[in-house]
């Protein structure tokens, strides 16, 4: 069961939520004006979104919604405007990209700002975790895409030694980077970045080289990888979704340009965001006209449409429906599961609070599945007892027992002899006494 979650840049539209299979609309979460890439689902527990703010306001804003309530539950105000945010799949960290080019990393459970580092010369536009979540990839307005090793970021010693913090810095884009995605393959994964310079570039994570650069007819604002990475889909400002070849046949004869296989189009306005549902094998696109379209990528047909708002949709997420979430009694069940929302995110790194720095909050597994048969021990007890019994009855034991008994017997015999001897002595003594007494009596 998958849910589609969409947000838009105008506040009164809120966050829409639909069941992808049935198409039924679920709860609508209120008052969210998110920037592009500013919506994240944190570990399936709650939704978080950064907010568009007036340029005059001094701080940024990140809001949390729990699944069960439409109102904003937790508000945080980071030190500057945060646009893109991302969370790792376990939901332990939220990273946010600032207007100044800084990247902020918060621990969700405690709200502590663990790290903040200067990543780009201009505002960060998108953030994405690598497959194993040990790397972070950021794109910026300065056209730069950088790959960060989180381990390195946290290692104060190494990061002082190193000349730069990043693992790779890709600088071939000439204009603002609009979207970055990465695929499977661990250290050999590819990174696809889209930019306002109308190109999408494919990078190799292992070598750091540019593998392919694809020129599109118009600016690409959103990219999503096909799960098997044969192709990727690129949503353009012209309204088309282009299918570009990665590991698929493409002919140079395509009328769109090199490597572009085909396109999906609904004569809509600019495509602003894309998502892919692996379960249903469906492509989702959000458009400036406020619609979320669901495509079947095989046939290029639209199979469903969700109307979100009058304004542009700019984020779509496809999330698995949390198993405890049923909208009828979700309040009770979420409380039972202990998923109260965590505290707001800190504004500054706070090195002085020793007590907190020492600790970390973890979720232990709530229950472990053990095969039930392994738990029963009656028959084990029987077996053990029998083994004991048999060990006592074994031939070696019997032999030893016989030895012992023989020994005992010998000792007893000896004892008997001794007693006998003593008895004899005593007997003799008594007789002698008696006889002596008699003799004395007689002599008297």
């Amino acid at each position: 069961m998958e849910l589609v979650i969409a947000s838009s840049s105008i506040a009164d539209a809120g966050i829409g939520c639909w069941d992808l299979q049935s198409g039924a609309e679920q709860l609508r979460y209120k008052s969210c004006a998110s920037p592009s890439h500013g919506l994240a689902c944190v570990g399936d527990r709650f939704l978080a979104s950064s907010q568009l703010r007036e340029p005059s306001s001094s701080s940024g804003s990140v809001l949390y919604w729990s699944w069960s309530k439409p109102q904003v539950e937790v508000k945080s105000f980071p030190a500057e405007h945060i646009k893109p945010i991302a969370a790792n799949s376990e939901g332990t960290y939220i990273v946010g990209g600032g207007q100044s080019g800084d990247i902020y990393l918060w621990e969700v459970m405690s709200g502590r700002l663990l790290k903040k580092w200067h990543a780009h010369y201009r505002a960060v536009t998108c953030l994405v975790f690598s497959e194993d979540e040990s790397l972070l990839i950021s794109g910026s307005e300065d056209g730069c895409v950088r790959v960060w090793s989180l381990l390195m970021i946290f290692d104060d010693y190494e990061s002082q030694q190193a000349t730069h913090l990043y693992l790779h810095s890709f600088t071939k884009h000439t204009l603002r980077v609009t979207d970055v995605v990465t695929g499977c393959g661990g250290c050999n994964a590819i990174i696809v970045s889209a930019s306002e310079d109308r190109t999408c570039k494919v990078w190799s994570l292992s070598t750091g080289r540019l593998l392919r650069s694809i020129i599109f007819p118009s600016v690409i604002d959103a990219v999503v990888l096909d799960p098997a990475e044969h192709v990727f889909y690129a949503g353009s400002r012209g309204g088309n979704i282009y299918v570009a070849a990665l590991n698929a046949e493409s002919s140079s004869s395509s009328s769109y340009g090199m490597h572009i296989i085909s396109s999906l189009s609904d004569r809509s306005r600019a495509v602003t965001c894309l998502a892919y549902s692996t379960e249903g094998d469906l492509l989702l696109s959000g458009s400036e006209d406020g619609m979320v379209r669901v495509w079947d990528p095989k046939t290029h047909n639209i199979v469903r449409m969700f109307k979100h708002a009058k304004g542009p949709v700019n984020n779509i997420l496809v999330v698995r429906r949390p198993h405890y979430l049923s909208f009828s009694n979700s309040n009770a069940s979420s409380r039972r599961h202990g998923f109260l929302l965590p505290p707001p995110l800190d504004k500054y790194v706070n090195p002085t609070d020793e007590g907190l720095n020492n600790k970390t909050v973890i979720c232990l597994p709530t229950a472990r599945i053990i095969p039930r048969d392994a738990l029963y021990c009656s028959s084990r007890i029987i077996d053990e007892h029998i083994e004991d019994f048999q060990r006592q009855g074994s031939s070696a034991a019997a032999e030893m027992e016989v030895e012992r008994l023989k020994h005992e017997c010998g000792r007893s015999m000896q004892m008997v002899q001794q007693w006998k001897k003593m008895y004899d002595n005593l007997h003799e003594f008594c007789i002698n006494e008696l006889l002596d007494g008699d003799q004395v009596g007689c002599t008297k």
């Binding site: 790397l135 661990g186 250290c187 392919r212 020129i215 590991n247 020492n358 472990r368 738990l375 028959s379």
Partner: protein, 860 residues
């Protein structure tokens, strides 16, 4: 009875009641046979199990009478068992049998029967737990049977409350048993039952939490039990916070245990570490200005216990307390908890940094006896600390990130000091779990370290076991034994071989006196390398990768030679070592597979030899090794026949996949020797570099990125001819230069089942509109001249596309039968281009121009 007629077969339901009755009649200890041998019980139980005699499960088709008969048979069974249980005290053997069989009944009987009578059964057993005069083995059996009762109860949702109330009745007698009984078997049973209750009905212990803690801890620190018993106690202590089930009690327990450990380590390590370390550790646990928690197990208890044992806990107790921490970190808990991560890591650090050496300053105060004692206990303590480290990694998962660098340094430091095989094995497993849980980033950090250490541990110097020293040292390199090294020299273009040779040679010098490492250690080292290759073999691994690849192939060759070379030797050896040698072979082959598959810059250099090994391994039929080798061969097949499969999902390629095969077939004849290549191109020539592959595709405008060979380069040509012929046959008139577009559009429509004509019209209109839009796009774009590196390319490209399309129009008419001929001559061309694009990247646009043009020339 009407069910007395013949049985159908051994699955017949009728069999079951009859068999059960026979069992009761003949196998049961009764008045006539009071002391039946318990060994008959095993037979009885296995019969019950295999035939599911107590399950009373049948489908609806079963006759009602039969069901009744079965039910009454089970009733009889239960009655017989209960009468055994309640037999008087002086027949404890019968009583014991009854209790055990009741336990089996709990497990086997039907749900409704269990629900109906579990409280009666509970009381039956309960009466045997309390009286002091009961014989010991009856007590043990009743404790265990009780535990089975609760295990079964947990699976049944409606009985939760009853179970809880029953459990709370038990707690006090249990604690009394732990405190007062003097037999270890009874303690063990009581602790086991306590653990079961803690797991399934934790709330029932809530009231007795402190008493339970005191009872367990007093047993634990008395040090009077066997190791197994101590482990059970440690586990029980770890489960105890569940009885309250909140964050605070978990943290308090953790804090108490850590405090106890650290305080006692202060005494134990006195003189072996800096004085300040202990107080630092305590301060980290109890922040200044806060009250320390009450000591573990309560005040009075600890004082008493320590007085007895000369104020010093036995070291084994400290180890077990550490084990308790491990279990707390890894066993389930209902709510999220706050882990004192820094003190935990500090504890690990503190313990493993003490190696028994005495700093000069405290030398005068140290007696030889004391040092000897500490040194004798240290390995076990180290082992448990590493266990704790593993548990921390497992428990905190991604939350560990801020501390990961600290752990890495810890591990690196310890690798330098650690020499005992058991400890090194543990350390390798720690590195493995670190790399797996923290991914590529961790592999970057630990790679070199793991490789260095593993190659030392795998070095077969001074081996008298018949392993030939196949890792080249300085002398051996000159010998002809090294077929492998020759091959390596031929292939390697860099000086890596020489470097590696030097390096290993140096290590050989340094480690002349080192003993051959045991097989278990070798396996651990190989597994660590395997994990490293799996996770991070392709990223920044240039410094160690060639050496590791070589190490693994020579290792695999080596340890497989031994067994397969002389089969007789393997069988004559005692079974123990032969098994471990097989394990070594398996892990070596696994690592070899990882080294072949892990992404790298070049083709795997030892592919051929590896194939040979796997093929030979596969012949060891029936073994795990053979199964793995079969898997490896399948996996590697992709390496030698890279697959450029047509896309199923995209109309443009689906439609002519058939043509393609036909067209290609004659070519295969020319390329002699490649037999399996109807789908994928053969394992051809020189360069497998991914980069060239991608760019190479750019040049030819070609399809499958995985197949850089000559043949697939024909695809674009065929593809578009296919497309055009499709268009031609449908006979649609289309705008010039947009043919392909429309064809694709129409295909997508073909997938729909019914297209109404009106819609169809519309869609054509729509497509045309789009075509013009889309064509305008790129042209405008190039005129705007984006200041990009690829600018030149772009202009060329657009131009060429246009050419291309018009050319195609002309060429279309006489494509016909010439396809085969054209493509074969095209093949010659494209191989020339192949050379070009490898050498010069900049000529990219020229090639794009060249390709279609040349095609057209040929066609025209």
């Amino acid at each position: 009875m009407s069910v007395l007629d013949n049985l159908k077969n051994m699955y017949d339901v009728k069999l079951k009641p009859r068999m059960l009755r026979t069992l009761i009649r003949e196998q049961f200890p009764d008045e006539n046979h009071p002391g039946r041998l318990p060994s008959e019980l095993t037979k009885l139980i296995s019969l019950l199990r295999t035939h599911k005699l107590l399950s009373e499960s049948f489908d609806d088709s079963v006759d009602k009478k039969l069901a009744e008969s079965w039910k009454s048979a089970v009733d009889e069974w239960v009655h017989a068992v209960l009468s055994l249980v309640s037999s008087n005290m002086f027949q404890s053997n019968k009583c014991w049998t009854g209790i055990c069989l009741l336990g089996v009944t709990f497990q086997e009987c039907a749900v409704h029967r269990f629900l109906a009578s579990f409280s009666v059964w509970f009381n039956n057993i309960y009466s045997h737990i309390q009286p002091p005069a009961e014989s010991q083995f009856v007590k043990v059996a009743s404790l265990n049977t009780m535990s089975d009762l609760f295990s079964r109860l947990d699976g049944l949702p409606n009985a939760k409350r009853d179970g809880s109330s029953l459990a709370s009745k038990l707690i006090q007698p249990l604690l009394k048993l732990i405190n007062e009984d003097d037999s270890e078997a009874v303690w063990e049973g009581a602790v086991h039952l306590l653990c079961t209750i803690l797991t399934y009905f934790p709330a029932s212990i809530h009231r007795y939490h402190d008493n339970a803690e005191a009872a367990i801890v007093s047993k634990l620190i008395s040090g009077s039990c066997s190791v197994n018993m101590m482990k059970k106690l440690a586990y029980c202590l770890a489960l105890l916070p569940k009885s309250k089930g909140d964050d605070d009690s978990w943290c308090l327990m953790m804090q108490k245990i850590l405090l106890l450990i650290n305080v006692h380590l202060n005494d134990f390590f006195q003189g072996f570490e800096e004085e300040t370390k202990g107080s630092e550790a305590v301060r980290a646990l109890v922040p200044p200005g806060k009250d320390p928690p009450p000591p573990l197990g309560g005040h009075t208890l600890l004082g008493e216990a320590l007085d007895k044992a000369t104020k010093q806990l036995p070291i084994s107790t400290i180890s077990l307390l550490i084990l308790s921490c491990c279990m707390m970190l890894t066993s389930p808990y209902p709510v999220q908890v706050t882990v004192p991560i820094v003190p935990l890591l500090a504890l690990v650090h503190r313990v493993i940094m003490v190696d028994g050496s005495v700093p000069r300053a405290s030398l005068p105060f140290m007696t030889g006896m004391q040092q000897e004692f500490v040194c004798s206990e240290l390995p076990l303590l180290h082992l448990y600390s590493l266990e704790l480290l593993t548990a921390i990694i497992e428990g905190t998962r991604s939350q560990l990130l801020p501390h990961a660098a600290y752990i890495v340094r810890l591990v690196k430091q310890y690798f330098k000091r650690c020499a005992l095989p058991e400890l090194r094995i543990k350390l390798y497993s720690v590195t493995k779990s670190m790399v797996v849980s923290m991914g590529v980033g961790m592999a970057l950090y630990l790679g070199q370290e793991v490789v260095d250490n593993a190659s030392v541990d795998l070095n077969p110097v001074g081996d008298d076991n018949g392993f030939t020293a196949s890792i080249p040292n300085l002398k051996a390199a000159s010998l002809a034994v090294m077929q492998s090294s020759h091959r390596k020299r031929k292939h390697s273009s860099t000086g890596s071989f020489e470097q590696q040779n030097d390096k290993i040679g140096f290590e050989v010098e340094a480690l002349k006196n080192r003993q051959q490492s045991p097989i278990a250690l070798k396996i651990a080292a190989i597994e660590a390398i395997e994990v490293l290759l799996t996770v991070g073999g392709g990223l920044r691994s240039e410094s160690w990768r060639p050496a590791v690849d070589f190490l693994l192939i020579s290792l695999a060759t080596d340890c497989c030679k031994e067994r397969w070379g002389n089969e007789g030797k393997g069988t004559s050896a005692p079974s123990g070592p032969a098994v471990t040698l097989a394990d070594l072979q398996l892990s070596a082959l696994r690592a070899l597979l990882a080294s072949l598959l892990s992404p790298s810059r070049g083709r795997p250099p030892y592919l051929a030899r590896a194939f040979e090994l796997f093929r030979r391994g596969k012949q060891q039929a029936g073994t795990k090794l053979a199964a793995f080798c079969a898997h490896a061969l399948l996996t590697l097949e992709v390496l030698i026949h890279p697959r450029g499969l047509p896309m199923e999902r995209f109309p443009a390629s689906t439609y002519n996949s058939l043509d393609k095969v036909n067209n290609r077939f004659p070519e295969n004849v020319y390329s002699g020797g490649q037999k399996h290549n109807t789908q994928g191109p053969p394992d051809s020539d020189d360069d497998d570099d991914l980069y060239h592959k991608w760019v190479g595709n750019d040049n030819i405008g070609e399809a499958s990125a995985l197949s850089p060979s000559k043949k697939t380069k024909d695809i674009p040509f065929e593809t578009w001819t296919g497309n055009l012929s499709m268009a031609g046959s449908s006979g649609t008139k289309i705008l010039e230069g947009s043919k392909e577009q429309l064809v694709m559009g129409m295909r997508s429509n073909e997938d729909e089942v019914v297209v109404e004509s009106q819609q169809f019209q519309e869609s054509i209109g729509q497509f045309q509109e789009h075509v013009t839009d889309d064509l305008k796009g790129p042209i405008l774009g190039t005129k705007r001249t984006v200041p990009d590196g690829g600018l030149d390319n772009k202009e060329h490209e657009v131009a060429s596309t246009e050419d291309f399309l018009t050319d195609k129009q002309d060429g279309l008419t006489n494509v016909g039968g010439k396809v085969a001929g054209a493509s074969s001559s095209d093949k010659g061309k494209s191989s020339v281009f192949d050379l070009d694009d490898d050498s010069s990247m900049d000529s990219f646009p020229d090639i794009v121009n060249g390709d279609p043009d040349s095609d057209v020339e040929e066609l025209g």
